[in-house]
Amino acid sequence: MKRIAQNPFAWFVLGMLCFLISQPLIRIPLLGAAAQTMQFTIWQIRYPIGLIIVIALSAGLFEETARWLFRRFLLWPRDNGAAQPLIFGLGHGFMEVLYFFVPAWTMMLASGSWSLALTERALAMIAHVFFTFLIWDGFRRQKPFRYWLIAVLLHGLIDILAGLSGLYRWSVWQTEGLFAIYDIFAIIYIVWSVRNRKRPPAEEFEPSYPEAGKTSGVAFDERDE
């Protein structure tokens, strides 16, 4: 299995599985069952913003935890390459497209809203790649739980915006505009993360010690972050 999981195509498929397991197989059925209860309906009326926040954070919790688990146990090689998080993130976003977008395709074509839907999906794909880079960077920097928490909160943030846009009836393009601003920061982070991979992070650097009788070729102080 380790040999199969080193294949980039496998990374893409694992990304798809990650979304499939975390959302349609686990979170969405749980949410659906909760939504059938009287208490949920009461909260929808009594605490609409609170409920939006909880639901949004749950999306972050389930997806980022699944991403974390996939990275921890199923992805190889475990190196500093940028290709793996990129391909995995694209796979994750692609499965989301298949699940949400494809079933509504004919309706979108009929209503003429397909261009808007494509825009929205493209922005969502960028976000998925961003979250994947965050989780991968957590392992690379040996702070997996901290980066996991950041990914959960940032994922929750974008879903909170989506929820609030429905509650306060923002225009579709206003909402997409906010997502685009979010994605600009996401792209900046991705580029920074990729460029940062060319030098090993501090924890992995081995200081060179001078051989006996000779001065050091590379001084410890010259490590550049």
Partner: protein, 137 residues
């Protein structure tokens, strides 16, 4: 646990509490509504639905509701209700207020037990106690 982690979790809890606080006041029943009367009217609506009395339902609806749910449209609701089996009882009711476009409504959430399924009704009334909204899951 590191200080930054504690601050992060505190922020998260703060956001959640803010979200709850922001919305709680809007759920109070507005003046001019009587909670008991709202509950009685909601139970009456469910009874009319169980008896498939579309004419009475349309008669007690406001103008918007009459446009959205004419008599013929109620057949879709009855077809769905057929799968639930016979009506057993209304188990629980909660009454609260809601505002939409600056207009106050009373909302009754009723959990009804049927032979094969439970249903949660969300029934809204305007100040004149006319049926203004009907939702079921």
């Amino acid at each position: 646990m590191k200080l930054r982690g504690i601050i992060l979790i505190a922020l998260l809890l703060g956001v959640l509490m803010l979200g709850g606080a922001c919305a709680s006041d809007s759920a109070k029943l507005a003046e001019g509504f009587d909670a008991d009367r709202v509950e009685e009217s909601a139970v009456k609506v469910i009874d009319l639905l169980n008896r498939q009395d579309s004419a009475a339902l349309v008669d007690m609806s406001d103008d918007t509701m009459k446009g959205v749910m004419p008599e013929a449209k109620y057949q879709e609701v009855y077809d769905m209700m057929k799968e639930w089996g016979a009506f057993k009882a209304n188990e629980k009711t909660e009454v609260m207020g809601q505002q939409s476009n600056g207009v106050d409504y009373a909302v009754a959430i009723v959990k009804s037990k049927y032979e094969k399924k439970n249903a949660v009704w969300t029934i809204s009334f305007d100040k004149e106690m006319r049926l203004a909204g009907l939702f079921v899951k």
